[in-house]
Symmetry: C2
Subunit: 221 residues, 2 copies
């Protein structure tokens, strides 16, 4: 009985890792599609994200089944509750990535990102991949140190996001309002993707230590 | 024992209702602060939202305690799991509202919303209040009909959001890029607020019927 129980816990953790690894893959694809104005890749990304979103129900079901059949307590209960919450973060990461790919598709054959901010968006894409990668790591080790480290790494994305808004608002912006709107929303999608990756660290920290990092750092969403 | 258990379930449901009712109050205040360029009201809204966010921990704790002490099954388990998920939606509604109020504060004494889109933003604010109001209702009755109705009412906000973006992108927009960026983000905050209110309907429907509405309607977060 205990063995089956721990198998189920491991299976649940595995489902979360798969969703997170897929998000890491997808955000790299979406950024390439966006910067390369690559329609085929944008469509592949949209489909790939929809598949990840579809994994939500099974993962939630696995967590609820564990609660129903095993009535875990203490640390193991916290683990299942955290898993339930993480499913939402991981699902949202997919949906945000899908929106980046949809922006690429909507503007094709033009590029949605004008030349002056290409480098910034490219950096945001790389940072998102790094954070998702670190989140996969935290889901694998559940190490409080790694989790706290991930929580601290959100600053890079925040700085890039601030630079991006400053670039749109700078005197020399002559790419029109439509591009300003696109880039504003793209910046927001990357920032929110990062927030959810960081939530993986925050929630894992809470799960392992019972301590929640300072809530004032919470971003809207 | 059963009595204490049901008291706890009722208490948990009450906490969710309070959070949702506060969000309803706050989004009305934030919209007034925004359209009236009212600094004092903006600051009051920011504080009020922070207090709602601070309720998250207690509410989560109440849900986890119920799982730990009572090991509910079937419908009651689903109720507690749904409560856990709703805490996140209700917390995010507060944070989004806070960001609307912060925009009002940042632009004061100027108005963040230029005249041509004031009416649209005002309608978005009213729609957000309506949806939060309906969400309080669903949290009170848990009626599947009301929940499905709430799910269907997201269209109004989506239409307003589309009109808002169209207005920014229209030929005649001569309010500058900074206002375009502000209004783009404000539109996004209202839309996301509505999405989370609608999630209250979706999750309540799932809780009471086991059926999830079509997931393709899910918005990014």
């Amino acid at each position: 009985m205990r063995t089956r129980y721990h198998d189920h816990l491991e299976q649940l953790a595995g489902q979360l890792r798969v969703m997170c690894a897929r998000n890491r893959e997808a955000i790299a694809m979406a950024t390439d599609a966006l910067l390369g104005a690559d329609l085929e890749l944008a469509e592949r990304t949209i489909d790939y994200c929809a598949e990840t979103v579809a994994m939500r129900e099974n993962t939630e079901h696995a967590a609820v089944t564990l609660l129903a059949l095993e009535a875990p307590v203490a640390g193991e209960l916290r683990r299942v509750v955290t898993a339930l919450q993480l499913v939402d973060d991981l699902t949202r990461m997919s949906t945000l990535t899908e929106h980046i790919a949809r922006t690429a598709r909507r503007r094709h054959p033009a590029a949605a990102v004008p030349a002056p901010v290409r480098n910034l968006v490219s950096h945001m894409g790389e940072t998102a991949v790094d954070l998702a990668d670190a989140a996969v790591g935290v889901l694998t080790t559940a190490d409080p140190g790694d989790a706290a480290d991930l929580d601290a790494r959100d600053d890079t994305m925040d700085d890039l996001h601030r630079d991006l808004l400053a670039a749109i608002l700078a005197e020399g912006w002559d790419n029109g309002t439509a591009a300003a709107v696109d880039v504003t929303l793209l910046g927001r999608y990357y920032e929110r993707f990062a927030d959810h990756a960081v939530e993986v660290g925050r929630r894992t920290l809470y799960m392992t230590t019972g301590q929640r990092p300072d809530d004032t750092a919470l971003q809207p969403g």
